[in-house]
């Protein structure tokens, strides 16, 4: 009998992290575009701010990996 619980759990951990990142980046990206339209010199800072939510998906990936490595 194949246990689907572990890969599904890993998928949820990664997927929700990615979803959170997507929501956060859409807002920050829109605000960033607005800021750069008025102040192009803020481009570098905006790239960093848009990248910060990536940590969510990375954490999700780490948790998913730990689930897969440690529980399988």
């Amino acid at each position: 009998m194949v246990d689907f619980g572990i890969p599904i759990g890993a998928g949820i951990a990664f997927g929700l992290g990615a979803l959170g990142t997507g929501i956060a980046q859409s807002r920050i990206g829109a605000a960033g575009a607005g800021t750069i339209a008025e102040k192009p010199e803020m481009f570098g800072l905006m790239i960093i701010l848009v990248a910060i939510p990536e940590t969510l998906v990375i954490l999700g990936f780490v948790v998913a990996s730990m689930i897969m490595i440690m529980l399988v």
């Binding site: 807002r27 920050i28 829109a30 605000a31 960033g32 575009a33 607005g34 800021t35 339209a37 008025e38 102040k39 803020m42």
Partner: protein, 350 residues
């Protein structure tokens, strides 16, 4: 409405507003020419250069800052196109339509030169410069109202309805009050049923404006010993806290001191802190200035409100308007060599 983009842009635009130190530099300029040189280092440069082709001195500043204000407001309106937020910003911008129509009507009543009237207008609302130019060309008050009615401008309705009374009495207050009442009632009806945060924010500003208008009316009526029933006609409805009954009770106090005492437990208690010599002299302009400052401060304070709401565009519109008013005050004071102390008193600091 996706506010993230719009409000980020508006906040970036806010960062280009003149700060306190720049205003100080403008105040310290000895004359109009050095003031223009200083202003050319700011965002007004482009409009000052354009205006410099046709105008000089204070007219150059007036034209440039007016064009800049209109351009800025149009930018905000274009950013916010679509949905309720456009409707809400239009409500705020319509204030300038009402103000412009009032200015034209006053000008026509005293048969002022059309170019002089045009100089006093700010085409920031729905009536653009071409429409306003056409309106000031009209020979009299009746013709202005008729033209507004021909264009289907909503403000023609209260003016037409009250024109007979104006024609009989010659009192411009009749038309001005009709316009104000129509504007606020129309704005409130547009907000009715809107339970969103945006509607609530705009409503709170409109209610403050109505309160301030009514308090000014009450204070003027007390000073001029106007009968309560007569004054009651000029109260604008729409404020839940300051309804006609409460305003009448303030009026019945009979004196400015009495009215101020009754205002003590309201958000407008700050006007009782006005120097006693103004109260004794019943100098209403001092109270009016304080009340207007309160409205500006309350509106600009919206910058600290929800960053993903209509609060930011409203706050910016008021902040920009305040900046333009301050530059105008500085320019006028430099022209007439008003002492620095009086100039500083006339400025609105936010």
């Amino acid at each position: 409405m996706e506010y993230a983009y719009v409000n980020a842009r508006i906040k970036a635009m806010k960062s280009r507003l003149l700060d306190r130190s720049l205003l100080e530099q403008l105040i310290n300029k000895p004359d109009i020419d050095t003031l223009i040189t200083e202003l050319e280092k700011t965002t007004y440069r482009e409009e000052l250069e354009k205006a410099g082709v046709l105008y000089s001195g204070i007219n150059r500043i007036e034209v440039a800052i007016r064009k800049d204000l209109v351009k800025t407001f149009r930018t905000i309106l274009n950013l916010i196109r679509g949905g309720d937020s456009e409707r809400y910003v239009t409500i705020i911008l319509n204030r300038w339509d009402v103000q412009n129509i009032k200015t034209i009507l006053r000008g026509k009543k005293i048969q002022e030169n059309p170019s002089e009237i045009l100089e006093c207008l700010i085409p920031a609302g729905e009536l653009d410069e071409a429409a306003l130019t056409e309106l000031v060309k009209q020979p009299d008050v009746k013709a202005v109202i008729d033209l507004l009615a021909t264009w289907g401008v909503v403000y023609a309705r209260p003016l037409t309805a009250n024109f007979k009374e104006f024609a009989d009495s010659g009192d411009m207050l009749v038309l001005e009050y009709a316009l104000d009442t129509f504007y606020y009632q129309d704005a409130m009806s547009k907000l009715k049923g809107g339970e969103s945060d945006d509607a609530r924010i705009l409503k709170s500003i409109l209610v403050t404006e109505i309160d301030i208008n009514n308090i000014k009316t009450v204070l003027r009526a007390i000073r001029d010993r106007i009968d309560t029933e007569e004054a009651k006609r000029y109260f604008v409805q729409g404020s839940p806290d300051f309804d006609a009954a409460k305003l009448l009770s303030i009026m019945k106090s009979g004196t400015i001191e009495g009215a101020l005492k009754l205002l003590e437990r309201t958000p407008y208690q700050f006007i009782s802190k006005i120097p006693p010599e103004y109260i004794a002299a019943e100098k209403i302009s001092a109270f009016e200035k304080e009340l207007e400052r309160y409205l500006v401060k309350k509106s600009v304070a919206l910058f600290l409100g929800d960053p993903l709401s209509i609060a930011i565009p409203i706050a910016y519109i008021w902040a920009k308007y305040t900046e333009v008013t301050n530059i105008r005050v500085i320019a006028r004071c430099k022209l007439t060599e008003v002492p620095e102390k009086e100039l500083r008193e006339a400025l609105i600091s936010v």
